[in-house]
Amino acid sequence: MSKIVKNKRSLSARLGGLLFVLPSILVVMIFVYGLILWSVNVSLTNQNSGTKKAIEYVGLKNYTDLVADERFTHSLSNLVKFTVVFILGALVTGFIMSLLLEKGIKGEGFFRSFYLYPMAISFIAMGTVFNWLLNSARDEEAGGLNLALQKIGLGFLQNDWYVSERGSMYAMALPAIWQMSGYVLALFLAGFRGIPDDMREAARVDGASESQIYRHVLFPQLTPTLLTILIILGHISMKAFDLIIGINGKSYVTQVVAVYMWEATFDKRDYAKGTSIAIVLLIMIAVVVVPYLRYNNKQQAYR
């Protein structure tokens, strides 16, 4: 039936649709894609605001320079470590939380809303407090989590958090996990509850144990949810900036790509380098997001 009506739609109606979104299309074209192109253009030059050099095109030199730049590779490896720990951490905690809540429990609403509230707060506001909590002093000098660990008798778990070069980014992921695991919980919970009860019942009738039901019936149903979560967390992680600046400033030990870009652009005043770092970051995000968007787009088409 809908097909018939579709044919009836006049050309003007369809154009009308386009007309209404045209302003937004133009704005997005200019302010998202136009400005990205602008940045790409700058990244192909030698533009440096600190010198009066004439601006000329240097091809991909800025990009090839990055490969050899130890500071860049350092920030990139920091970012990778951070991303892995953050995604796994948020995924596991969020998943465990959803398992605990999934069947429904008295007071669920209470727990759920507290678990979610970190998302409402900006990291500009949380910076100092996390800097304190992740303080690396131990034993008598301890002030933050290390002190809390002592108090609950887990003193042996005290550690350097993000200060040591080895462990820095892993610990830096903790605040990010704190902020995002409630979100993961919500998504998983929606995933679990989107599974019809009948499926569980049927498995139960077939004599499956609880753990078998989870493993063979419920978990496979969560794959799309998992994919969504990975994409969301992935792009948040790659953009990490506020969080790291808020907690530890521009310190070398926790420098990630977005922070290094900041330094290149504003301390070195090297716009060409700054924009090329930004474009690399953008490409990294695009590699993850674009296939997902395409997949999503295809799904829409079949609806």
């Binding site: 997005v28 940045s39 465990i96 953008l282 999503n296």
Partner: protein, 305 residues
């Protein structure tokens, strides 16, 4: 989409099982679940707890070494200093918060209107290539804003719109288009096509269909978008600091907070913590009272709805 995600989350499944008497094993697991949930609850609340107790210790002598100690006596001086400012803290948060409220509300409302129109077209009046364009919109949600900040500042100064708070309204509207469109589109997708088709048969125009059928159904989506835009514009720091150029006439909540916490040569953690708390309060309040909608906004970020 049949069921709303939030309804899914808040639904209580397995109601049948609850009535049954628990056996020993099940009782053990129930207790285990409560203990775990409570433990996680403590972890989640701890940072805020630390902020609260340290905001009650006064202006001076608040340091990391006694972070967990309760205040010896309640001292609200840090609150009054942070709220209204002094010689030493000339930025009064109260003034900036009023200004923020003013611009954030406007930005949210306009964003919602634009998002609603876009969402309507992308969901119900698809044209050739509309799905592709929509996908291009969505990518805008994922870009790192640092990458476009410098040209953006240039545009703002060239057009001379950087002297008023409207520059922030514009920025949040523009960069809010992707998410707002997405939320509305997903919401409208769920409205049965039959309603629209009926209107079409009646030769109702696109605009009239929108006014008479879509708009009256849109309230929940509006609330979601308003809340989403409210919290993200409120918490935004990058646009605020670059586009206002540091002018005190345009200081907003996060930049005012940055004034207080970011001083270079002296640090007053008491005021620092308090100001952070005050600035977080509006979003927390929105979250507490409208949590359901807030959650819905968050979930819309997941592209499905």
């Amino acid at each position: 989409m049949s069921k709303d995600l939030v309804d899914l989350i808040t639904a209580k499944p397995d109601a049948r099982n609850k009535k049954r008497k628990l056996n020993g094993k099940e009782r053990f697991w129930l207790i285990f679940r409560y203990i775990s949930l409570t433990f996680i609850w403590f972890l989640v609340v701890m940072p805020i707890y630390v902020m609260v107790i340290n905001s009650l210790k006064g202006v001076k002598n608040v340091y990391l070494t006694n972070a967990f100690k309760l205040p010896e006596k309640l001292d609200f001086s840090a609150w009054s200093v942070a709220w209204s400012g002094t010689d030493y803290f000339p930025q009064s948060i109260s003034e900036s918060m009023t200004r923020t409220l003013f611009f954030v509300i406007q930005a949210s409302i306009i964003s919602a209107i634009i998002g609603s129109i876009n969402g309507y077209v992308f969901a119900k009046w698809k044209f050739k290539g509309s799905n592709l364009i929509f996908t291009f919109f969505l990518f805008g949600m994922f870009i790192p804003y640092q990458a476009i900040m410098i040209p953006l500042v240039r545009i703002a100064t060239t057009l001379e719109i950087n002297k008023s708070i409207y520059v922030l309204i514009l920025a949040h509207i523009i960069y809010g288009i992707p998410i707002c469109t997405l939320i509305f589109r997903n919401y409208y997708e769920a409205i049965p096509n039959e309603l629209i088709e009926a209107a079409r048969v009646d030769k109702a125009s696109m605009v009239r269909t929108y006014r008479s059928i879509i708009l009256p159904l849109s309230l929940p989506a509006f609330v979601v978008v308003l809340i989403w835009q409210f919290t993200s514009a409120w918490n935004d720091f990058l646009f605020a600091i670059f586009l206002t150029g540091g002018s005190p006439k345009l200081s907003v909540a996060t930049t005012a907070l940055n004034f207080i916490t970011g001083s270079s040569n002296q640090v007053y953690y008491g005021v620092n913590m308090t100001a952070s708390l005050i600035v977080s309060l509006p979003t927390l309040i929105v979250y507490i009272f409208l949590g359901r909608y807030f959650l819905r906004g968050l979930l819309s970020g997941s592209l499905k709805g």
